[in-house]
Amino acid sequence: MDLPRIWRLKSQRYKLEGSQCKSCQKLSFPPVQVCSDCRSQEIEPFRFAGKGSVYSFSTVYNPLTQFTEFVPYVVALIDLAEGPRITAQLTDVKPEDVSIGMKVEMVIRKISEQSDKGAIVYGYKFRPPIK
C-alpha cells in the first residue's frame, strides 16, 4: 500500500492545489519547487477553481489494473481557466459525447481502490458543468 503517496498528494487531489511563483506569477500544476520560467524558488500554494475546457482526449479500453472498473473511460488534457494544462479522467459523460473545447468542471470521485482491504484513493476528475 502506497499510503505515504496518498497522504502527500491529498491537497493536489482533493483541492486542485498547485503553486504560483511569487517572482513572475507563473502558475503550475502539479506544484513545483522551482519556477520553470524564472528559476525563482519563491513559490506559494495556489488553489485552482476547477473550471476548464478539453484540449484533447483519448478513450481507454486497456487500463492499468486499478482502473478496470471504470472502462471505458476518457482521459483528457484540460486547459484550466487560470492557464495550466493538466491530465485528468472525465466522468459522468459517455466517450462519444466528449469533444475538444468542451467546458468541464472539477468533481471529487473515487480514483482507485487498493484491493478490498486497502485504502480508497479519492481525487479530482472533470465532468460537463451541471449548471
Binding site: 482533493y14 472498473e69 468533481v107 470521485r109 473515487k110 480508497i120 449548471k131
Partner: protein, 356 residues
C-alpha cells in the same frame, strides 16, 4: 415529562444541498429479470438512482455539502462538526467525515463522526448538529444523510434500494433559511430490518416492516411532536416523511390527517426509490427549493431497528436569496442516465469477477 426537544439557543438550517447520482434503473427492468414481469403493474416505484462506477458515500456527500456551503455563504472553517449518517460508509473503520472535512476545508478545527441508524442516520445527524449549535457550543455544524443502499439480487429490496445525499448546515436562527421550532425522537427495539457485521446484504423481518416498524414509529413521532407543539395538520404547509416506497408515506400521511397535497412536494420515491439515510432529508431539500417565507415544514425520518425523529421548521425570508446559489434537488432528479440490469449489476458490485 418534557418530551419535546428544543435548543437553548434558537437554531436553524443556514444552508442545504442535495446530490443524486445520475444512473437510473427501472423497477420494470428488475421485474423482467427476476420475476418475468409478472408484478409489473404493482411496482413500488418507477425507478431508482444508483452511483456511477467512481461514486460512493464520500463523493456523494462532498457534492451535497458543497451545495450546502454555497447556500450558507459561510467560511468552511467555521464549521465545528461533520456528522455523516449512512449505512454504507466505504470503510468499516475510518471516518467518512474526515474526508469530507479535509476536501471542503472544514478540517482541522472540527469534530467528525459517522452515525448509523438504518434509514434515519441522516435525521440523527441533524439532531446531533442541532444539539451542538442549539446549546451554544458551536456556531455551525454540518449534518449529512447519505447512502448507496445494498440489496441481494432477486430480493424485493432491489426495487427500491437507491442512492443519494443531502447536507444541512445548522447555525444561529438569525442566519437561517428555516428555523427549528421543535423536535421529538421515538425509538423501540424492533427487528424489522438489519445487517450483521461483515454481511454484504441486509435481512428484513417481513411482518415487522409495516405496522410495527414504519407506521408505528413515524406516526408516533409526528403525532407526539404535533401534540406537544399544539399543531394541527392545517398548520403545516408541507409534510416530509421517510419514503421506502411511495405507498408507505401516503398511507401514514392519511392516517395522521394530512392531505396528499401537503405530502406531494417532498415525495420523491417514485422517481428515486428509497435513498435510505438521505430519503427524508432530500424530501426536505426539495420542499425548501420551492418554499415560501412563513411556511411550516414537518419532517420525519425513519430508521429500522427502529426509530423516528420528527422536526418542525418555519421558513424565513432568507430562503428567497439563498436557494438559487446552488443546483436545486430537481436538477439532479432530472439528470439521468438509464442503465440495464447488467450495467446495474456491474455498478453495484454484484458480478463475481473471481477475484479475492
Amino acid at each position: 415529562m418534557k418530551r419535546l426537544l428544543q435548543p437553548t439557543r434558537e437554531t436553524g438550517i443556514v444552508g442545504y444541498g442535495a446530490y443524486i447520482p445520475r444512473c437510473r434503473i427501472t423497477a420494470k427492468e428488475i421485474s423482467t429479470i427476476w420475476r418475468g414481469g409478472r408484478d409489473i403493474d404493482n411496482l413500488p416505484v418507477d425507478e431508482i438512482s444508483l452511483p456511477g462506477p467512481d461514486e460512493d458515500v464520500v463523493t456523494m456527500s462532498i457534492e451535497a455539502a458543497q451545495n450546502a456551503l454555497l447556500r450558507a455563504g459561510i467560511s468552511p472553517d467555521e464549521i465545528r462538526a461533520v456528522y455523516t449518517g449512512s449505512e454504507s460508509h466505504p470503510y468499516a473503520v475510518k471516518t467518512t467525515g474526515t474526508l469530507i472535512a479535509e476536501v471542503l476545508d472544514i478540517a482541522p478545527h472540527t469534530s467528525a463522526a459517522d452515525l448509523q441508524f438504518g434509514c434515519k442516520a441522516g435525521s440523527e445527524a441533524l439532531l446531533a448538529g442541532v444539539g451542538l449549535v442549539g446549546s451554544g457550543m458551536a456556531d455551525y455544524a454540518m449534518a449529512l444523510g447519505v447512502d448507496s443502499a445494498q440489496a441481494r439480487p432477486a430480493d424485493e429490496l432491489e426495487y427500491t434500494a437507491a442512492a443519494g445525499a443531502a447536507a444541512l448546515i445548522l447555525g444561529p436562527a438569525t442566519e437561517a433559511v428555516a428555523v427549528l421550532e421543535g423536535a421529538y425522537s421515538y425509538v423501540t427495539d424492533t427487528p424489522d430490518f438489519f445487517r450483521r457485521a461483515y454481511r454484504k446484504y441486509p435481512e428484513h423481518g417481513n411482518r415487522f416492516t409495516g405496522d410495527p416498524g414504519y407506521f408505528k414509529h413515524i406516526q408516533a413521532s409526528i403525532s407526539t411532536l404535533m401534540e406537544e407543539m399544539q399543531l394541527r395538520p392545517e398548520d403545516i404547509s408541507a409534510l416530509v416523511l421517510h419514503q421506502p416506497n411511495e405507498r408507505f408515506p401516503r398511507k401514514a400521511a392519511k392516517t395522521l390527517g394530512f392531505s396528499q397535497t401537503q405530502l406531494e412536494t417532498g415525495l420523491l420515491a417514485r422517481k428515486l426509490g428509497n435513498t435510505y439515510s438521505s430519503s427524508a432529508l432530500l424530501g426536505l431539500t426539495a420542499v425548501l427549493d420551492s418554499a415560501k417565507p412563513g411556511d411550516r415544514i414537518l419532517m420525519a425520518g425513519y430508521g429500522a431497528g427502529a426509530g423516528s425523529d420528527a422536526f418542525c421548521f418555519v421558513v424565513t425570508d432568507r430562503i428567497l436569496t439563498m436557494r438559487d446559489k446552488a443546483p436545486d434537488t430537481h436538477t439532479y432528479i432530472y439528470r439521468t442516465l438509464p442503465v440495464d440490469y447488467l450495467t446495474y449489476a456491474r455498478l453495484k458490485g454484484k458480478i463475481n469477477t473471481g477475484g479475492e
